[in-house]
Amino acid sequence: MKLHRNRKIRITALLALLGTSAFFASCERHSASGTQSLDELAEEVAAKVAKLQSSQPPGVPFRSDSAVEEDEPLQGEEIAVLTDPPHVPPPITRKHPSRVKVRLEVIEVEKPMVNGTSYTYWTFGGHVPGKFIRVRQNDEVEFTLANHPTSKMPHNIDLHAVTGPGGGAASSMTAPGHESVFSFKALNPGLFIYHCATAPVGMHVANGMYGLIYVEPKAGLPPVDREYYICQGDFYTKGKYGMPGLQPFDMEKALNEHPDYVVFNGSVGAIAGDNALTAKVGERVRLFVGNGGPNLSSSFHVIGEIFDNLHAEGGTTVTHNVQTTMIPPGAAAITEFRLDVPGTYILVDHALLRAFNKGALGMLKVSGEEDKVIYSGKLSDLVYQPEGSDIQKMPQASVPAAPVAKNKDERIAFGKSIYARVCLACHQAEGQGVPMAFPPLAKSDYLNADVDRAIRVVAFGMTGEITVNGAQFNSVMPQLDFTDEEIANVLTYVYNSFGNNGTEVTPEQVKKARELGPLPTTGAH
């Protein structure tokens, strides 16, 4: 019995060592037949192990094993190029590791979260996410963390690229108006999150204290035409989405993991509309995507694209042909794809209510020649429609108590803020819309022809086929839970912008038009 147990352990150990499916298959067969003795099995396994060991390496070595083998001497010294999102520092072409100096400044800033709403962000370098840091494997990084004198809080930094307790946090606790220096060797290649780890760490991260560091592998990455930097984050504010004014952090919502905002690059629209990422047909694009959290995982997806290459979890293994990749808080991924068709590609957290109702929506605008074989361009929308044909109700629009406009100028001013908060994501900053997805409002024949119809579209939403300025659209306009005053204001703004006819819409007119009820669904859907 004792002997048998030992043998069993030996077999198990051998299997664990190999871990190949072939072995599991053969074991299953043996156990199923039940005719082979343990001794025979052990011999067979030993023979197979010997054969395998002679033909292939015993397994993937740990990083430190290979580092010892190929320790590279350090040459030269340089100052790291740091970039603000969505930009990425140039690839590192050095064939040797260097001493690299990185200086990152923490600054607490008040900036817009969405038009009309601002937030006090705590940042690594003035933006959320913080500066992108790019170094090469085996570089020795001398890291200076400066904390601006106007900061209220002490801060530190935990870089997931650091090997050592606290990831640098223990060595970088820095009071306002001071700076700390520590150094580390970038042992493992990959894309890593960095974040502040000062207590209460959840709040520091929730205020925007994260960014990405890429440790370029020795061989580098294959060249691409464009690289961009995106980080998702969730934000918790006292007022609900869109509530105007400076909104303070809400600890209770953060503890309950109920964010008001889920955004790319720190604010609603940071990489949408005029700030959209751009590329050209035929180019290969690489996105360095992180998730600062603090709470929500991201189902990162680019609508209308497939990741040709994906470094899932930011590591070394590349998988191919992936639609959506899961990026948990404190993690990152590298996605690469070639652009074949022009148009606007929407970047989303495919937990879609976050994308459409909380801000997790970005854009990649691609210009160039159409390729009708790859994509016919025949009417279909590029945007995934999560709600099917049902009307999507967007409750956030009713949250702020809308001020009452006293005259047309005020109406336009109030309407502008509503537009930026609610309409801009689809209809765009200049009312130009998104071809084949969202109709234009600029110089719009459909809009200018019929005010009551426009009111009913906003009040009740609309589904189905319409023709605007000669182009056909077949989309869903969500029902917007606006007051009469708000509809009057936003429509007045639109009618007095983007080359439209200057109509003033009043709340009374909205009330009357509402009585007509929703528009009939047009065309097939």
Partner: protein, 443 residues
Amino acid sequence: MNVSRLHLCSLVMLLATVTGTGAEVPEGMKFIKGGTYRPIFLQESVERQIHDYYLDERQVTNEEFLQFVQQNPGWRRSSIPRIFADEQYLAKWTGDVELGPDADPAAPVTGISWFAARAYLASVGKRLPTLDEWEYAARADESTTDATKNPDFSAKLLTWYSRPTPARMPRADAAPADVYGLHGMHGVVWEWINDFNNSMDTGEGRSGGEIERELYCAGGSIALVDKTDYAAFMRQALRTSLRASFTMASLGFRGAWSADTALPAVTQNAEITHALPPGSIYQLGGIWRNQRDEAVALRSLGGKWQVICMGYTFCKAACPRISAIMRNIERDLSEEAKARTAFTFASFDPKDDTPAQLAKHAKESHLEHWNFLTSDEASVMELAAVLGIKYEPYDGGIAHTNAVILLNPAGEIVARIDGLGASPDPLIQALEQQALPADKPRR
């Protein structure tokens, strides 16, 4: 030695060095009735007994501090040694004795180091509040003495903590008074406490291998009793980031006073500052006693290279190992380097480490040629602060940073090793290089 006993003992020691206590309660202070409170900063959830005391009803203002530097030139911006305050000291002022447009006379003075706050308060017969005194009073809002369970109260604090520091501070008495009559405990500036360097456990002192747990991800939450008191968390994080010479645009102070105490400012030694480099720890005043019961001023250690540590002789864990590191350094030094070098062990424990105990310890350890020093609590606190050593009473002993520090003959820190497992080589190398003739390149 338990927690409360050490605190009490610190008060007693201070009393011993002070003359003329029992003065009238200084003006502008409010009475705080003592009681019990449960600090969130301790691993053990112990209730602390707080004695009756007084706090200034508002922070010390620019105008008041201006008067102080007018009378005490050693504390002016241009003359203060770096060891007592960093470059941002009084940075908002336009000159040594000029406030300028950004420093409202009635606004709290900020850009103040711990040393400067202590020196100011000593000059008016007050002292900095302890952590317990400050936190005990800071629980109050306008209607109750303990509002910490009121979510609106903590939300208000968090909002303030979230905002950057304004360019121009409001008046120190602008905020509405709380139930004690104190203005601006929250919402204007952070405030120094006396024992900021003693308030977090440093980990290392007990097990040797632990890193400072408060400094990194999630670490702080392990040690806290009330994990939802984010406001207290943040105050603690701030204190953890400070050194005694640090100043901040949003860090001021107010005075405390109680019937039995008034702190001496050990640092007030303006006459010695000129002869020494600004970063010399020998700028510190304070009287120490060695194992032969002789009075020793720190600056008398000068002239030799000093390998110095802090510990206490009853320590059975870390301190013997720190001593062992120093012994190994001594053993491995060349004769030439050894001749230039002295070894000093300064005690954290004024109560138990009497000169007699130090003598006994030195004899038993065969280290009678080293300096073993003991002093009062204030001197210990200041020496630990300038050496970058934290310590805290813990579980009958004292938890502390394990460090061995090398001072040059002028008393400047030139090298240190942290942790019990660290190699002593950097210190040995530094000492050997200094032993080279002057024309050889130095490190």
